[in-house]
């Protein structure tokens, strides 16, 4: 029998190590795995690379990890969201590295990794500062920059409903980065609001099939 449910945040995060690349879902606070991120702080791992659309807000989650000096680098499209004091302070102090990536390229680079591809040519950023140092290639008369896959050691997600196979359904705009990050990491961990019986999520409406999910914890 397959049962991906674990009974604690600690069990959900077990095995994550210093230096790990963490894909942290959510767009601002919506769809963000707050309790799992808090759990990372508690378990004490550091030297993390965090991929997330924003670089933390207020004093919890990613912001708390940054405040505690646990994050070496953030890969994001827009670091400053509501109340970005933790990132701002670390950035000004030179305590954190920032890789700024256009929002659609972050998600596409993760999908590229998920799909087993070696990279792709993107029209986004051509001729701008964000393409500095990147290979540029003309294809059928148009210029593109080469983008490489972005893979995580761990993806931390927040879902609305989950079953014991790890099938997931999200709610409204809380879906955002969750399905893409689910596919792009070695270990995919989900905090779900509700664990439902196998089959309760309509097979036509499974947003993330369980094949991408390793652990589910109900929060």
């Amino acid at each position: 029998m397959i049962d991906k449910q674990v009974d604690s945040i600690a069990a959900a995060l077990a095995g994550i190590r210093d230096g790990a690349t963490i894909l942290s879902a959510g767009f601002g606070a919506v769809g963000a795995p707050d309790e799992l991120m808090d759990g990372l702080l508690e378990m004490g791992v550091g030297d993390l690379v965090v991929v997330s659309n924003n670089a933390g807000s207020g004093k919890r989650g990613l912001a708390a990890l940054i405040d505690a000096g646990r994050v070496r680098k953030v890969i994001c499209s827009f670091p400053r969201t509501d109340d970005p004091r933790a990132f701002d302070a670390a950035y000004k102090a030179g305590r954190i590295e920032l890789e700024l990536v256009p929002q659609g390229i972050i998600s596409e680079r993760m999908r590229c990794a998920a799909a087993g591809l070696g990279g792709f040519y993107s029209p986004v950023g051509v001729g701008t500062k964000l393409a500095h140092g990147k290979e540029v290639r003309e294809i059928d008369g148009k210029s593109y920059v080469f983008e490489k896959p972005l893979r995580g050691d761990v993806a931390l997600l927040r879902a609305h409903r989950a079953d014991r196979w790890g099938n997931l359904a999200y709610r409204k705009s809380a879906r955002n980065f969750n399905p893409v990050m689910a596919m792009a990491a070695e270990l995919t961990v989900v905090q779900a609001k509700e664990l439902v019986a196998l089959g309760d999520i309509d097979p036509e409406c499974v947003h993330t099939p369980g094949i991408f999910v390793d652990r589910v914890v109900v929060v």
Partner: protein
């Protein structure tokens, strides 16, 4: 001469959106555009965080904290709308599936180059969000901006001074003074606010303008006191 208010600028941009278009509105001023769609036109608003069919701000009883827009404000979904993930949201943007992206801008060049993501202010870290994706990907990119900076310097220029978001992407510019098309023949003025001469407009602009033969006065049908 009375420059257009922000609402009037949004109103003017809204007049050019056709029935049935799929449209992304940038954060800030462009979001006001959705309040001014002429009656009878059904427009589908896209949000890069995974919505098609985005509606107005929720009434108090409609508030759902899982339903936000790209500016991270609360929003609604109208009947017929749908949810999808970020990679699909940006496939729509980058793949030319949006009829129109309306964005704010710091500067626009006469070649349609857009600068709207960073002023390189060293006091805080830069952010790009989805601006580059939208500028490159939408079928049409139109911008809304004040014609000049607060100290009267032009924002429409031969070449942008701020770092580019994308080159050759803007096709129409709405300012508080005029409506200007970016064409292979350069910047063509379509409309000017009443009481401002073409020469005066040219003086406030950093690139050469040409007045269209069929230019018209820019007359907002919306009271300038309308605010949002």
């Amino acid at each position: 001469m009375t420059p257009l208010s922000r609402s009037q600028m949004a109103w003017r941009a809204a007049q050019d959106i056709d029935n049935g278009w799929y449209v992304n509105l940038g954060i800030g001023l462009p979001t006001l555009v959705s309040d001014h769609i002429p009656p009878g036109r059904e427009i589908v608003f896209h949000s890069e965080n995974g919505l098609l069919g985005m509606g107005p701000k929720p009434q108090p009883h409609e508030v759902d904290t899982d339903l936000i827009n790209a500016g991270k404000g609360l929003t609604t979904l109208i009947t017929g709308g749908s949810f999808f993930h970020h990679a699909d949201a940006f496939l729509m943007i980058r793949g030319g599936h949006l009829d129109l992206s309306i964005m704010g801008a710091f500067e626009v060049s006469e070649a349609g180059d857009l600068a709207n993501w960073t002023t390189e202010d060293p006091s805080f870290p830069p952010g790009v969000g989805g601006a580059m994706d939208l500028a490159v990907g939408a079928r049409r990119v139109r911008v809304l901006l004040e014609h000049t900076t607060k100290d009267g310097k032009p924002r429409i220029k031969v070449k942008c001074d701020y770092p580019l978001t994308a080159a050759h992407c803007v096709s129409r510019i709405y300012t508080n003074l005029a409506v200007i098309d970016v064409t292979p023949e350069g910047l063509i003025v379509r409309e000017i606010v009443e009481g401002l001469s073409f020469d005066e407009l040219q003086q406030k602009t950093g690139a050469r303008l040409t007045l269209a033969n069929d230019w018209a006065p820019l007359v907002p049908k919306l009271a300038s006191t309308a605010t949002h």
